[in-house]
Symmetry: C2
Subunit: 373 residues, 2 copies
Amino acid sequence: MNFTISTQEFLKTLNIANKAFTPRPVNPIYSNFKLEVGENGLDITSSNGELSLITNIPLIKNNVQIIRDVLPGAILVKGDKLTKIITNLIDEEVTFQVLIDNIVEIRTKNSKYTLNCIRADEYMDIDFSLEGTKVTLDSKKFIDAVTQVAFCASQKQTKLALTGINLENNDGNICFTATDGSRLAKTTIEANTKDRFNINVPVKTMVEVARTIFNESEIDMYVGIRRIWFQLDHTLLTSTLIEGDYPRTSNIIPKNFSAKLEVNSQDFLNILNRVSSITDERENIVAITMNEMKVTVSTKASQVGSANEVLTNFKYSGEELTMAFNCDYVSSAIKALKSEDVVLNFVGQMKPFTVSTTNNPEVIQLITPVRIY
Amino acid sequence: MNFTISTQEFLKTLNIANKAFTPRPVNPIYSNFKLEVGENGLDITSSNGELSLITNIPLIKNNVQIIRDVLPGAILVKGDKLTKIITNLIDEEVTFQVLIDNIVEIRTKNSKYTLNCIRADEYMDIDFSLEGTKVTLDSKKFIDAVTQVAFCASQKQTKLALTGINLENNDGNICFTATDGSRLAKTTIEANTKDRFNINVPVKTMVEVARTIFNESEIDMYVGIRRIWFQLDHTLLTSTLIEGDYPRTSNIIPKNFSAKLEVNSQDFLNILNRVSSITDERENIVAITMNEMKVTVSTKASQVGSANEVLTNFKYSGEELTMAFNCDYVSSAIKALKSEDVVLNFVGQMKPFTVSTTNNPEVIQLITPVRIY
């Protein structure tokens, strides 16, 4: 096995391969990348056991020869070490050659590196066949949807389904939901199929797919029974699905509200940030007291002191209301909405409230309040 | 106690006070700042037990009123909480007022914070009297000297004196030395006194003093028997000294060399960085083989592979020589010299070698090689 490749293109592709890399995987074989070179160029496969991907560099790209002097073959090399060497090289081209005794040599004009390597057939079989329902999605909308919900997925392994993002196709509209039990985020994007599915995708998979999208205006998603695939221009990602039923969330989100607060996002974030100077870091609880004349955000921590901030720029309609909540939850919800203004809608004391925007009504952030100290 | 102060000036001074702050000090009283306001303005005292400082904001600065509505008094408040509140305020002025029951109120137009506080007389007595030998030093030269040697101080508590920087006055030249036993850095700056002293200053003290210097062109250092003081324009820092004899290092540095390698700093750093892709992170050992025709940097790690880099731009005089060393030590030494080119001077196999520059011959970095694998 042998090839000479543009260092920059090699590095770009290694960086994609690293999205499915973990330095200490459960199965140690996954600390390796599989490199396979042939007439279709160079394929790099990587996996962390859950998320796997295969990414390709063609021999010629935009009429420029990227890879030359190919002797076809495949090999496994340590992903982190290979990346580190290629990252630091300054030469334009690098030659990769398998020597005897399972050693690869990586060389440029003045540098020569060797890495121990393993036979390619010792790698695990990864199912890169495309099965199930094919859905074509707008890339930008997919990335936005992932960003708007991913942070709400549960970190705890007690209810596995909640560690993922739920994707449910309702008549051509795919609903993305994530919840950790205390807060929930939900949004919808259109799809080109009405085939029903209701799956839980590991949140890390969704985030890494969103990060891998580069120039693609659309991506193809294939929903199988136990597995999902995402086809990008030069990269195919696949992940196991999380088994288990996702809670029914559609009836949790209130439809009718009795009070409504409109604020400037940045002003409100600044106030939450200031008030949380006083709170306990583990329990970042603040209270908001609202009537049509005055809105104040306050907190009290017996060991430390108290904080009280008056909002100067707001619109409030409804009866006087006091709600206490985890300051981080509201801050994350506002940041995820990426809007100049946000609207908080309340049903009443101790009832979940929503954070949303007028310019993107599909996105709903729902937060459960806490009992006031 | 009462005052209204420019938020920006208050924050600037709190940031200085934080240089002697540690969130979990051995003596919990040091988690507080002492604030004292009177006709000389506001004094903030902070300490971590080893390094202490007092810093002042005058009532009026450059004809601008910084502090107004003063009711003299003193109080202790949690340093981190106070800093966090003031950092996040957006108002131009803030009012600080001690209420009954040992509570301070910090308020602006729309914000009101309270912090629990402690009586000022519960703070430890800190010796801010200036005693001993007074030495006036050029600020820039002081900062450079600290930067050039500090990283060589020992991290281990086994030989306490080595955790400091040794300052020795030899006839009006103060020699700064730091060593951890495997490497040593040394430089000299002029002083306006020939009074002899030979002291060990905690490295953190030296680094924080260097960081606190702002506009001062000169600083005054007072060397006492058990304590040292640094007088800056608005801030006085003091620290205990480290007891114990510092090793005699003057005869360790070789005077006559048998081989000399001149390299471009950045090229050589890049090569060391590339080669260390292969090394074990804990034992970052590389070897250099030099003769007048060829210089190569190489390493081998049985579990990983090997690296071999040929230098393209160098001058070497002397016999063929191979030296192995800790790559981090040489990289840190070169970075500390801040010079376009560096010179490595060798005495022979397994003998300590120096890294230095022609434009600043006062600074010597000495590195002990390691036995080659």
